[in-house]
Every structure is written in C-alpha cells, then in structure tokens.
C-alpha cells in the first residue's frame, strides 16, 4: 500500500472516530444522529432482513437505466455533434450554460407528461448526466492528433470505422470523466426526485424515515447510497487511470 492511500484511510478513520466520540459523549444528541457504529449495525439488519430490498432495487435499477442512457446517448450525440461543425458551433454555448438549469424543476412537468412512475425519475437522472458525457466526449474527440486521422485515411477507413477504431478509442479516457459524472448525476436525479414525489425507492424511504424521526432507517440508507456511488466512481477512476498509464500519461 502506498503512503497516500494509508493517509487517506487514516484520515477517514479519524473522522469516523471523532463522530463516534461526539455522539457517545452527547455533543451530538441521538435524535440528530446515531453513532457510526450504531449505523453500521442498523445497516446490517436492514440488509439481513431484506426490509428495504424493493426500494433499493427500484432505485438501483432506475439509476442504472438513467446512467446507461446518459452514457450511450451522450457518446453517440458527442460523435454526431463532433462531425457536424455548424451544429457544434450552435450548441457549444448551450452546453456551457446547461448546468445553470435546475433540471429537477422540470420534474413536476415530467410527472404531468408521463405520470408518477419510473419514467420521469429516469428522465431527470438522464438529463442531468447526458450533457456531461457529451461535453467530455467532445473534449476527447477534439484531442485526437491530426496525424492519426491521416493514418486512418491512408488505411481507407470508412467514417464509421474512423469513429469506432480511431477517434473513440483515443477519446476513451476523456469519455470516462463524463461517465463518472453520469454515475453521480444518475443517483442525484433518481434520489432527488424520489425525495420530492414518488411511490417508493431509497429516496422515498429516507424522506419517510426523516418525517418519522426514524434515524435507524434514515442513516443506514444514506450510508448505503454513499457506498454504492463511491465504489462505482472508484471503479471507473481505476479504469481511467489504467488506460492513462498504458499511454504513459499517469
């Protein structure tokens, strides 16, 4: 293990220990938050009893669909926009201001259009993530050295082959940056809209527990969401790093 990693683990452990102490001593009262050790035990029993399995499954499935849509549509749109210079010039300023839009504000509208089901939530997660994927795909495609494009022409590749065999493979590490955003945004979109209005899911259960002062449910579910998103993010980051290392860039 390298030193940076050891330090990181130590810092995290110290933060948890301080939190534990503050809760035990009573600086943080138990109506506000339970000690971390208690949260771990509660999480274990939630998973063991399977009490919230349906909610967990619903949230993970919807986040997964929103994520997959954002990534596939984002990459395809990125390639298409990159190929159409005029469209690109028109859209660039819109991408730059896109994240000033509070996408969640459209949720009620989407519910009116699609009903109070999974679709509006998936759409919110998708809409949040897709532009990050497009922007990062474009960034990667912009960086493809001209000489590789010339080599592709000498190899008489068709435009589709150029995209799948040259420009996209070159851009993968940059696309992955967008993919990491898509993971976060998928969860923010799904859980955020479950908070606001829904019939189930982890966000719904957390809000429900909050209203009932049920800390034994609320905190373990929050920790579970953190664990899922952080591990997904770490996995992609590792892949990204491996690809960059292969190119002598990390």
């Amino acid at each position: 293990m390298n030193r940076a990693l050891v330090l990181r683990v130590l810092a995290l452990a110290a933060a948890v220990a301080v939190l534990e102490a503050l809760c035990r001593v009573g600086v943080i009262d138990r109506f506000t938050m339970q000690p971390p050790s208690r949260i771990a035990v509660d999480l274990w029993s939630i998973l063991a009893t399977g009490k919230f399995n349906a909610a967990i499954l619903k949230t993970l499935t919807n986040a997964g669909i929103a994520f997959a849509l954002a990534v596939s549509v984002g990459i395809a749109a990125g390639v298409a926009i990159h190929g159409l210079k005029a469209l690109r010039e028109g859209l660039d300023p819109l991408f730059a201001t896109y994240y000033a839009i509070p996408v969640l504000a459209f949720y009620p509208l989407l519910i009116i259009l699609f009903g109070l089901g999974d679709a509006p939530q998936i759409l919110i997660g998708f809409m949040l993530g897709v532009v990050a994927v497009i922007v990062n795909t474009l960034n990667g495609l912009d960086r493809v050295p001209r000489v590789l494009l010339k080599a592709a022409r000498i190899g008489r590749l068709t435009p589709v082959e150029v995209a799948t065999q040259v420009t996209l493979p070159y851009a993968v590490p940059y696309v992955l940056t967008g993919v990491k955003f898509a993971v976060s945004y998928a969860f923010i979109g799904i859980i955020g809209s479950e908070f606001v209005m829904s019939r189930g899911g982890m966000g719904f259960e957390i809000a429900f527990a909050y209203n009932n002062l049920d800390n034994a449910t609320m905190y373990p579910l929050i920790v579970l969401i953190l664990a899922v998103t952080i591990s997904a993010n770490l996995m992609i980051a590792r892949w990204e790093k491996a690809l960059l290392a292969r190119r002598g860039l990390a």
């Binding site: 050295p145 000489v147 590789l148 010339k150 080599a151 022409r153 000498i154 190899g155 008489r156 590749l157 082959e161 065999q165 040259v166 493979p169 070159y170 993968v172 690809l243 292969r246 190119r247 002598g248 860039l249």
Partner: protein
C-alpha cells in the same frame, strides 16, 4: 530507363485561410517523375512545402492546379491503393499494442487465414521489434515507435512508400542505422521510395536521386543523381563522391535557406 511510377504536371497548392483572410501559396508549379523502384529523396528549407508535396502524392490533399498520377491513374483526393505513408509525427495508436498497431490496416484487407499473422511476424522481425510485441507505444523509445509505424506500412506491401522526415526526432547514430534499414527494405520490397529529410548527408547516403526544393512556394531547383549501386549501405559516406554530392546539395540550398530565414544570400549579418 524504367517507367514513371508517379507523375506530377504543373502541380500547385494554395491554402486558403478561412477567417484569417489571404492565401498561402505553398507549392509549385512543379513537374516531377518518380521512376518505378527508385529511391528518391527531397530536401528543402523548412516550410517550403515538402509535406504538402507528400500529401498530394498520397491523396491526402488535392492540388489547386495541375495533375498528380500514380501508376498512370490520376489521384484526385482519393487514397490510391498501394501507397504507404510514414508520417513526420508519431502516428502510433497509443491504446494498441505493437502487434495490434502493425496489424491495424490489415484488419480491412481480405487475406488468406494465417497470412495476416505471418506478415505481422515478418514485419516485427524485419524492424527488430522482437520481444516488444505486447508492449504499448508509450513503453517504447521514439525510434522504436517510428519503426512500428514503418512496420505498419510494410505489412500492406505498398508499391510506393512515402516517408516524411521519419527520423527527425532521432539521434544521429539511430538515424544512420534506421537509414540502413530503410535501404534494406527498399531492396527487399522493390517498392519506390520517396523520402523527405532535412539532413543532406542522409539524402546523399540513401537516395538514387535527390530533389532540392526552393523556399516557399516550393519548386524543384535541381535534381542531383548519386549514381550509387543498388547494393549499398552507410559506407557510401567513405566514397570520394559522397562529399562532392552533399556539397552540391548545400550549394543549391544555402541561398534558399538564407531566403527562408529572411536574409539575402551571402550578405553577412550587420554588413556594411
């Protein structure tokens, strides 16, 4: 003499610069015949249009005027079959291993089973890349990466090989050795070789004929014949004619180089 493999007639290239206004007259008008199977070198001041000339022959660019023909057929922005290019810049695909880089263009070629593998194996051996088959370009030196690019061109068995300052980034010893390798390839494959270089001694050592180009817009000032035998290597530098040939190139080039760095030929700095 043998037949012309490539012919250029009245070829001119003018780049328009959208947005910036104005035009850059990069090349020509220029006439040139490359003989089938010869080793042809081009020297000239930087920015004189050497790479532009290569791209016109490769079909990567279209002439503003005039005609370029390969094996009797005009090239009009179409990549002709049978032409291989080794570029000035590193053109290895960084996400592919050495063998996958070499096999890249073969993916499209319809070949008998096993033919692909055997061509890649041969190219690896010929370019001295044995032991590095599974390495990625980032793990190789600049010289080895350039050899990967040469190997990638070779497996296609081109009849015309265009090389754009392929050894530009290499040290002198490596350049000499790579030069010998290119000579060997030229003899073994029987291909016509068109080599751009900025090293005059390299041109003299390798080529049958050397074109000296003018400053931009590039035109051909003179073509020098070396008269070397086909069986030759870097030891031609010991030949008495080597010095004279290189001196001739420099004589023609000196004035042009002066022009391209903005000084009239022969007038000393701060003169009179």
């Amino acid at each position: 003499m043998s037949v012309a493999h490539v012919t250029l007639r009245g070829v001119t290239k003018v780049f328009s610069r959208p947005g910036k206004g104005g035009e850059v007259h990069a090349l020509g008008p220029l006439d040139l015949d490359l003989r089938s199977g010869e080793f042809f070198a081009v020297v000239g001041p930087s920015g004189c249009g050497k790479s532009t000339l290569l791209e016109l022959i490769a079909g990567l660019a279209t002439a503003s005027a005039g005609e370029v023909a390969f094996e009797g057929r005009p090239i009009a922005g179409e990549i002709p079959d049978g032409v291989g290019v080794v570029f000035q810049e590193d053109a290895c695909f960084p996400w592919l291993t050495v063998v996958d880089n070499i096999a890249f263009s073969l993916r499209k070629a319809r070949l008998a089973p096993g033919e692909r593998e055997s061509r890649v194996r041969d190219a690896v051996a010929m370019m001295g890349l044995g032991g590095f088959e599974r390495s990625y370009p980032a793990q190789l030196s600049g010289g080895m990466r350039q050899r990967v690019c040469i190997a990638r061109t070779l497996v296609m068995k081109p009849r015309l090989i265009l090389l754009d300052e392929p050894f530009g980034a290499l040290d002198q010893q490596t350049r000499l050795l790579m030069g010998e390798e290119v000579l060997r390839l030229w003899r073994q494959t029987g291909a016509t070789v068109f080599l751009i270089t900025h090293a005059l001694d390299e041109a003299t050592m390798l080529a049958d004929r050397i074109a000296v180009m003018s400053a931009r817009p590039g035109r051909i000032l003179e073509i020098v014949e070396t008269g070397w035998p086909r069986e030759r290597d870097s030891r031609v530098v010991e030949d008495a004619r080597f010095g004279a040939l290189t001196a001739r190139l420099w004589q023609v080039l000196r004035q042009e180089s002066m022009k391209s760095i903005g000084r009239p030929g022969g007038v000393p700095e701060g003169g009179a």
